[in-house]
């Protein structure tokens, strides 16, 4: 049953906070860091006004923020936190603890560059660096999608086949601080969509019964045990398998949400424009996708066969979907907003190349690293990238596979 909802003027941070407010979250524990501060400020207001039943814990560092969420989730609560850049880096060890303990924590990461030098503006280096941590990761394009994805995240995380934490990435300042029209759903509709957290059960042989895998104060279960080399690998495999199960769940939840709101984000993994007949395609994540699509539309009107793929889900990585879309494309440019010094290209480029390696016919894949430290991406630059790609599609050998765009030489 479709619900239209009302339009509000919200920036990305406010949209995230608004969604969290509607999602029956039990515990929020966060530490402020630019550009995430608006999220924690809004949530504090909701709690102080008694609008939500949530317990808000004002911790003394991001490390404690995720620790508190882990403790809360282990006790059966639905937990949420938000951070950026240095904060995400500080809680790095706990990302693995959260996924290893299979806790469905949801976190909003407002992408900001990592020190040093210290920089508060947008790039993806903070979240890209956490790609091995076992968290499901989304990169949203606009505040509307931020709102929608937070709501979907709770359902995906808490699905009994998944039970993994979810990270929603939104671009710092481009999305977090820019006012947009966001169509929000009514409180009761969202509350009904996400429900309340129901912990999974686990069979405990020495108790001879199945119990909820949470600390209730009575049932003697031990969480966070040490597993030596004879068992650790198997526990890690379970996280890997859960991540694979998440693929179906992400698609399902995207579909369910679109039936409710009328908004779907492709199949949940990626959206594409003009790829069907394209010779040159740019792959991009985050808010820059808007700029790229704008340029692609203009070029297509002039008869150029270009396309754009916006990757929404980075983990699990949609290699099958990408392979299907790109097999007949001649040239692909992967736009990275992060770097990996010493690697052959930046992270997203490496993931795409690996995904397409086994194809019988492969496009030429090049890397365009842009926007580092919040350096703006102009439509003019995107046009240049498309021209470059179209020449490569016609057979020109790329001057270098990895190009750092917009940097002074």
């Amino acid at each position: 049953m479709r619900v239209v909802g009302e339009v509000r003027a919200l920036n990305g941070d406010e949209a995230v906070a608004y969604a969290v407010r509607q999602c029956n979250v039990d515990v929020i524990s966060a530490y402020p860091i630019t550009p995430q501060t608006i999220i924690v400020e809004r949530l504090s207001e909701y709690v102080a006004n008694g609008e939500i039943h949530t317990e808000y814990v004002n911790v003394e560092s991001e490390h404690s923020a995720l620790s508190t969420c882990i403790g809360a989730a282990a006790a059966g609560a639905r937990a949420f936190t938000a951070t950026s850049s240095q904060g995400l880096a500080l809680m790095w060890e706990l990302l693995y603890v959260a996924s290893g303990l299979r806790l469905p924590i949801v976190m909003a990461v407002v992408n900001r560059a990592l020190s040093a030098p210290i920089n508060i503006h947008c790039d993806h280096s903070d979240s890209i660096g956490t790609r091995d941590s076992g968290w499901i990761q989304f990169y949203v394009e606009n505040s509307q999608e931020a709102y929608d994805t937070v709501i979907q995240a709770f359902k995906i995380a808490e699905h009994p086949d998944v039970q993994l934490p979810v990270m929603i990435n939104l671009d710092g300042f481009y999305l977090s601080h820019t006012l947009e029209n966001v169509r929000v759903l009514p409180d009761d509709v969202v509350s009904g969509f996400v429900g309340f957290r129901k912990p999974v059960k686990v069979w405990v042989p020495y108790l001879g019964r199945e119990v909820p895998a949470v600390l209730d104060g009575y049932t003697p279960i031990s969480l966070g045990i040490i597993a030596l080399s004879d068992y650790y690998y198997e526990f890690k495999m379970m996280v890997i398998k859960a991540m694979e199960k998440a693929r179906e769940v992400i698609k399902e939840v995207n579909k369910e949400f679109s039936e409710l709101s009328g908004r779907a984000y492709g199949d949940g993994f990626l959206t594409h424009y003009g790829v069907d007949d394209a010779e040159a395609v740019l792959i991009v994540m985050g808010s820059a996708a808007g700029t790229v699509r704008h340029v692609a539309r203009e070029l297509r009107r002039n008869g150029l066969r270009v396309g754009v793929i916006r990757l929404r889900t980075f983990r699990p990585f949609p290699y099958e979907e990408l392979t299907k879309l790109l097999k007949d494309v001649k040239a692909v440019g992967v736009m990275d907003r992060a770097t990996s010094p010493g690697a052959y290209g930046a992270p997203l480029f490496n993931e795409v190349r690996t995904a397409l390696y086994d194809c019988e016919s492969r496009p030429v894949i090049v890397n365009y690293v842009y926007g580092i430290g919040g350096r703006d991406l102009s439509p003019h630059t995107v046009k240049e990238l498309y021209s470059d790609l179209l020449e490569i599609a016609k057979g020109k050998k790329p001057s270098s596979i990895v190009r750092y765009v917009g940097v002074r030489s």
Partner: protein, 97 residues
Amino acid sequence: MSGSEFIRELPQVPTTVKLSTELKTGSWRSYRPVIDHNRCVRCLICWVYCPELSIRWDGSSVSIDYDFCKGCGICAHECPVKAVTMVPEGGGYEGGR
């Protein structure tokens, strides 16, 4: 370490599946405590200080659970009436501790 059969069905959440009472740490000791029940006044100080929960009180007398006792000797040292003696496991040389 376990030495028992490999657990094939892992719990979905990393929690334990067996109690440590299956691990008989009594195999660790070199000396075993022996209680002289004629001297024992059943004050239960040995129970208080035993790290292994190997001192049992059944309502009438004190006994030692040799499955778990590691032979640390705290009970023998702390007993106020010296009712506990540490004796070498498996005979060994003459004289306890």
